[in-house]
C-alpha cells in the first residue's frame, strides 16, 4: 500500500483556477443555497452548463462525447464543485461511476447511446446495488433476471436508489444464474441497464432522516430488458461491480461532505463584531486544515495512480474509511464549539448547513460501503513482510 507524492502541473493548476472563476461567476456566494458534498441539489440546467464546459465525462473517450482527460483533471473539477456546494445531484452518479463502467464494459452501441448524454449532463443515473435483505453482503442479493427470448425479465427490489424518482436509468446488479448452478454466490451475477420509466418499474420515495425524499426504493415487476442492455458479460457482474465501487470510493466526495460547515464557521467567526475567534477556534481549525490538506493530497495521489494504469482499490478503501470518519469528527468538533442552538427555519447559512450535516452525518460512513466492510477490504492489502512470514 503506497501513496506516492505528486504535484499538480501548471496545466492542472490552470484548470483549478478556471473552475474557481467559473463557480464565482456562475454561482456567486449568496445567490444559491449550497449543498453538502454529493448530497447537493439536483439542477439539470447547471449540469448542462458543466457539460458545455467539458467538465463531465472528462476521462471518457472523445469519440463518445468525453474529453480524454485524466483522473486528476476530473478530481480537480469535482473537488471544486463539492467544496462550493454546487448542485451536482443530477449528474453525480452518471459522471462518477455509470459513465466509466459503460465506457469500460459496454458494447459499442451502448457507448454511443449513453455516453454522449452523460457527458452533456443530460442523462442521469441511479445505483441499483443494495436490496432490502442485501447490504454489506451484496452478493446475497435476490433480484433475478430470467431468460426470455432475446432478453431478460427482471423481478426484485432495489433500495437506497437516490433520485430514482426523477432519474433516467439505473445499473441493476442481479442474479442471472442460480447459486446452486454456480456454486459461488459471487458468480452468476450480471449488470443490466434498466430504464427507470420502463413498464413494470415502480419507484417509491423513502423519506430520509433530514426529511428529504430523494432516497428511493425501486420495485421491478417483470421488467423486460433486451439483450442490448446487458452491461458487459453475463455472469461477470460481481467483478464489474467491484470495479465500479473503486470509482465510488477514492474521491474527494468522501472528505468534503461537511467542509462548508467549517468554512461557514470560520466566516461567521471572522465577521462577528466582537471577533469570536478565540484559541478554541484556532485549535479546531488547525486540526481540521491539517486533515483536509493531507486528505486532499492522498486523493490526488490515488487519481495519479489511476492515470498511471494502476488500480488502487485497496488504497481507495483505506482512504474512504478514514475520510468519512473525519467528515463526522470535524462536524462534531464544530458542534462542540458553537453557541448556536440549531433549529429550523435556519437563521443563517451556517445554521442551515449545521442542521443538515448533523442529521445526515451517520450516512457518510455507510453509503458506498460501511466502515466495517471497508476495513475488511483494506486489511487484505496489509500483508506480512518477508521477516514476518
Amino acid at each position: 500500500m503506497r501513496f506516492e507524492l505528486t504535484e499538480l502541473t501548471g496545466t492542472e493548476r490552470s484548470l483549478q483556477n478556471e473552475v474557481r472563476a467559473f463557480l464565482a461567476a456562475e454561482l456567486p456566494r449568496g445567490s444559491f443555497t449550497p449543498g453538502l458534498g454529493m448530497n447537493a441539489a439536483k439542477d439539470p440546467a447547471f449540469s448542462a452548463k458543466l457539460g458545455q464546459r467539458g467538465w463531465l465525462g472528462m476521462a471518457l473517450p472523445t469519440r463518445y462525447g468525453g474529453h480524454d482527460r485524466s483522473a486528476v483533471d476530473r478530481l480537480i473539477v469535482t473537488e471544486e464543485l463539492l467544496r462550493w456546494g454546487a448542485p451536482v445531484g443530477h449528474h453525480w452518479v452518471a459522471d462518477r461511476q455509470s459513465g466509466p463502467v459503460i465506457a469500460r464494459f459496454g458494447t459499442e452501441e451502448q457507448k454511443q447511446r449513453f455516453l454522449p448524454g452523460i457527458c452533456r449532463g443530460e442523462l442521469s443515473f441511479s445505483i441499483g446495488m443494495s436490496e432490502p435483505d442485501s447490504g454489506s453482503d451484496l452478493a446475497s442479493l435476490t433480484t433475478r433476471a430470467v431468460r426470455d427470448g432475446d432478453g431478460w425479465v427482471v423481478v426484485g427490489r432495489k433500495i437506497w436508489t437516490t433520485w430514482a424518482n426523477v432519474n433516467d436509468w439505473f445499473v441493476v446488479l442481479c442474479r442471472t444464474s442460480p447459486v446452486e448452478e454456480t456454486g459461488d454466490k459471487r458468480l452468476g451475477l450480471s449488470q443490466l441497464l434498466v430504464d427507470l420509466h420502463a413498464p413494470g418499474v415502480e419507484v417509491r420515495p423513502i423519506p430520509f432522516i433530514d426529511g428529504t425524499a430523494d432516497f428511493c426504493e425501486v420495485l421491478l415487476d417483470e421488467v423486460y430488458v433486451p439483450d442490448e442492455l446487458v452491461l458487459g458479460q453475463v455472469g461477470a457482474g460481481w467483478t464489474q461491480n467491484t470495479s465500479e465501487l473503486a470509482f465510488e470510493r477514492g474521491g474527494p466526495d468522501r472528505w468534503l461532505s461537511t467542509y462548508l460547515v467549517v468554512e461557514e464557521l470560520l466566516r461567521s467567526a471572522v465577521d462577528a463584531p466582537n471577533g469570536a475567534a478565540g484559541p478554541e477556534l484556532a485549535d479546531l481549525l488547525g486540526s481540521a486544515v491539517a486533515s483536509y490538506w493531507v486528505l486532499h493530497h492522498l486523493t490526488v495521489s490515488i487519481a495519479r495512480a489511476i492515470d498511471a494504469g494502476g488500480s488502487p482499490s485497496l488504497e481507495a478503501s483505506l482512504m474512504k474509511e478514514m475520510a468519512t470518519r473525519f467528515e463526522q469528527d470535524v462536524l462534531n468538533a464544530v458542534l462542540a464549539l458553537t453557541d448556536l442552538e440549531p433549529g429550523l427555519p435556519a437563521r443563517s447559512l451556517f445554521e442551515q448547513l449545521l442542521v443538515t450535516a448533523t442529521l445526515t452525518a451517520p450516512s457518510f460512513t455507510i453509503r458506498g460501503g460501511t466502515t466495517e466492510i471497508l476495513r475488511s477490504v483494506a486489511a487484505k492489502g496489509l500483508q506480512p513482510s518477508a521477516r514476518g512470514r
Binding site: 507524492l5 467549517v262 470560520l266 471572522v270 484556532a282 485549535d283 488547525g286 493531507v294 495519479r304 478514514m322
Partner: protein, 350 residues
C-alpha cells in the same frame, strides 16, 4: 503525467536501510539506552558520510539534497536508531555552514529554535534541553545579542550539562549556558535566517522520524498478528484485530504523505504552512497509531523484550520536541483565521 519533483535517491534509501538493519539491531538499541550512545549505528552512518548529506562538500559536508538527508532521517526513525543524524547534519551542520562557522567533527547538536539564549555583558546565558549534548563535539545555537541574531558553536566542556533522557531513553540533556563569549565560536546569523526557520527545520526532523517509525510500526503489527495464534487462528484473521491494523496503516499513510509534502516544501525554500500542518497530522497519527499498534500486540507489546516499545516510546517523545504539536496546531489555526474563509480552500489545496 507526474510533475517533476526531487525524490530521494532510491539507492541511498536502500543502502541506509541495509546498514541500519544490521547496526541498529534490537540488542544494539537496548544497549544504547544503557550506554547513552549507539556506536555501531553511528559509526556505520558516519563512515559513509550519511550524517552530513545536504551540506556542501566545499564546507566538509557530503553534498546531496535536503530530501536525501531526510530520507536517511526517515530510515533512522523506522529502525528506532538512537543516533543524532538529524541533529548533526540537517540542524547543527546546516546552522554552522549558514553562518560560515566550521563544520564540527563528529556528532553535533542544536538548541531548538524556540529556546531564547542571550548575550549580555560579554556572557552567553540560558538553558535548554538538547539532544545528545554530552556526546556532541559542538552544540550549535541561535542567540540574541547586542548586535542582533548570532550563531554560536560551543564545546560541551564549557557548558553545564546534566544528563537526562526523553521517554524513549534517548539522551536529552539539560544544558545551562553561562559562558564568556570568548570561550565559544560566534558569527552573525545571515539576514535570511531566523528562529522560525530553525524551529521549522527541527520540527521537520521530528515529522520525518515519526513517519518512518509509524510505517515500521504498522508493518510490525501486521507481522506480529499473522504469527500470533489464538482460538486456533492467527489473530490477524479476526475482524476486530484487522480494524487496529487498518487504523495503524492509515496513520502511517497520513504521516508519510505529510512528511513528504513538508520535506518538499522546505527543500523548495519555504514550508511554513506545510511543516505546521504536517506536525499536526503526525501528532494525531502518533497518538492513534501507537494506540492501535499496542492493542494489536496485546501484552507482548508492553514488554521490553519485544521491539514495539522502541518505536512507540519514540513517537510519544518526538511529539514534544522542537515545539510541542499543540502549539503548532494553535498557530496554524490562528493563521487560518487571519486568512479568512475565502482563503481556506486555496490554502489546503495549495
Amino acid at each position: 503525467m507526474t510533475a517533476p519533483h526531487a525524490a530521494a535517491d532510491p539507492l541511498l534509501v536502500e543502502t541506509v536501510g541495509r546498514l541500519l538493519g544490521a547496526a541498529a539491531s534490537f540488542e544494539a538499541v537496548e544497549q544504547a539506552e544503557a550506554d547513552g550512545w549507539c556506536a555501531p549505528a553511528w559509526d556505520a552512518l558516519a563512515e559513509a558520510g550519511f550524517a552530513w548529506i545536504s551540506l556542501p562538500e566545499s564546507a566538509g559536508g557530503s553534498g546531496g539534497t535536503l530530501t536525501d538527508a531526510l530520507a536517511v532521517v526517515r530510515a533512522v526513525g523506522a529502525h528506532a536508531a538512537p543516533v543524532p543524524v538529524a541533529e548533526t547534519g540537517v540542524l547543527a551542520g546546516w546552522l554552522a555552514v549558514a553562518a560560515g562557522l566550521a563544520l564540527p567533527d563528529g556528532p553535533a547538536t542544536v538548541v531548538p529554535g524556540d529556546v531564547i539564549l542571550r548575550i549580555e555583558g560579554g556572557r552567553l546565558r540560558g538553558e535548554a534541553v538538547v539532544a545528545w549534548a554530552a556526546r556532541a563535539s559542538r552544540v550549535l545555537a541561535l542567540v540574541d545579542g547586542p548586535d542582533g541574531l548570532s550563531v554560536v558553536s560551543a564545546a560541551p566542556a564549557v557548558l553545564d550539562v546534566t544528563r537526562r533522557t526523553n521517554l524513549a531513553g534517548e539522551p536529552r540533556d539539560l544544558v545551562r549556558f553561562d559562558v564568556a563569549v570568548s570561550d565559544v565560536e560566534l558569527a552573525p546569523a545571515p539576514a535570511d535566517l531566523d528562529r522560525d526557520q530553525l524551529l521549522r527545520r527541527g520540527a521537520l526532523t521530528r515529522i520525518v522520524l515519526s513517519a518512518g517509525a509509524l510505517e515500521a510500526m504498522s508493518q510490525l503489527s501486521v507481522d506480529y498478528t499473522h504469527q500470533r495464534r489464538q482460538f486456533g487462528r492467527p489473530v490477524a484473521a479476526f475482524q476486530a484485530v484487522q480494524q487496529h491494523l487498518v487504523t495503524a496503516a492509515q496513520c502511517a499513510v497520513r504521516a508519510s504523505m505529510a512528511a513528504d509534502l513538508a520535506t518538499r516544501a522546505v527543500a523548495a525554500g519555504d514550508g511554513a504552512f506545510e511543516v505546521a500542518a504536517a506536525r499536526v497530522v503526525v501528532d494525531e497519527a502518533a497518538v492513534l497509531g501507537t494506540r492501535a499498534a499496542h492493542q494489536a500486540h496485546g501484552a507482548m507489546g508492553v514488554t521490553r523484550e519485544y521491539p514495539l516499545h522502541h518505536l512507540s516510546r519514540r513517537l510519544w517523545a518526538w511529539r514534544h520536541e522542537h515545539g510541542p504539536a499543540a502549539r503548532w496546531r494553535r498557530q496554524l489555526g490562528a493563521q487560518v483565521v487571519a486568512g479568512g474563509a475565502d482563503a481556506l480552500f486555496p490554502t489546503l489545496t495549495g
